[in-house]
Amino acid sequence: MDANALLLGVVVITALAFDFTNGFHDTANAMATSIATRALRPRIAVALSAVLNFAGAFLSLKVAATIASGIVDSGAVTLTVVFAGLVGGLAWNLLTWYFGIPSSSSHALIGGVVGATLIAAGSSAVKVEGLMSKVIVPAVLSPAFAGMVAIVGTFLVYRITWNVPKPIRTRGFRLGQIGSASMVSLAHGMNDAQKTMGVITLALLANHTIRPAEGTPFWVIVACALTISLGTYIGGWRVIRTLGKGLTEIESPQGFAAEGSSAAVILAASHFGFPLSTTHVCSGSIVGAGIGKRLAEVRWGVAGRMVTAWLITIPAAALVGAGAWKGADVIGGTGGVAVVFALAVAFAAALYLAARRVPVTHANVNAEWTGTLDPEKERVG
């Protein structure tokens, strides 16, 4: 096994690790509201979402071998840059998961790659206009827009069904919720698994393991689909708790309106080529559903913390990506990449252990929100 093959192997493993965090970070987008309103039992919800993510990953076969295309100069994207970018995205995903903050996995990856490119090839390799039009502006517009749709939807749903007996209403909307949440899960699999497939394909191309005409190898599709659905099944319970219980108290009509808005906006955006982040859309919808029901409480502190995290996602991931590239470069060669990889593994293990001290699981994900992520607090108080 020569050095290049080793480097390639590390990149593929890192990409799959990112894919995994992408899955378990984003389970919340589709399933948080269904879990909060008890439309689905927590474990059933993540299992359903995992199956649909898997199916979605297989259904979308047009994989583009690009990473942050139009945002960074594709000539500047070397294997090490891809690796450093992945490490940046991975680190940010794990950190936000630990704090239970829903943040965009795509932004984290883009941030990591931008940071690595900046330090590897200089600022001329980063296209500011592409970064603005493909990332920054949609990030501002999408939660606002999804929120607006959800506000109107929630308002109408309550207006229309005010006379419907509560048991029928709750049951009916729970069923509707399952449907709309399934759509979001499927769309997520179609969009997000593809990103990692593209990254791995790109790495294989750069290493001349495959020729451009060959397209994505089948094992890459299978590996990515499996990893993202496994991640989804493990479930980012911390993020689910924040979205389902933390932002606002959700009833099933609100959950249905929120997921309906998310599904419609995501499908429309992907059809018309407007690049949106699933996380931003879903979070916006849930806040909207909170506003749309009169007198419903939106915890603006939680929402504010979430938006703050969104603002620093790209710079923070970029910083880690740049550091990872620099570190690998200074130490040099495959050894440098191996050291950075080991550091990333240690970081992940540390966060995992820290998270175990205040565990959020399928059993306590719906516990009363007491101002923090910690479900144990209420027993004391």
Binding site: K62, V149, L267, A268
Partner: protein, 76 residues
């Protein structure tokens, strides 16, 4: 600002998002009103039939809309 925003795509997303996210969601709610009319004990038989018909029409449109969304997504 136009160099940063694809205005053409944006308004299409707005319209489609509203149609699906508000239109279909509201139709689903109307369908439930129909179902409720059918199951309410004091409703006359005519009201029950009308309620059922309303529910069937609404739910059919909602399912068709969702299927269209998926189809459009898969065609890409």
């Amino acid at each position: 600002m136009n160099q940063y925003v694809d205005v053409d795509a944006l308004w299409k997303v707005l319209v489609a998002g509203l149609a699906g996210g508000v239109g279909l969601v509201a139709l689903f709610a109307v369908g439930m009103v129909g179902l409720a009319a059918r199951t309410t004990a004091h409703a006359g038989s005519q009201a029950r039939v009308a309620g059922l018909a309303l529910a069937v029409v609404c739910f059919t449109i909602v399912v068709a809309g969702a299927a269209l969304g998926l189809y459009v997504m898969l065609k890409k």
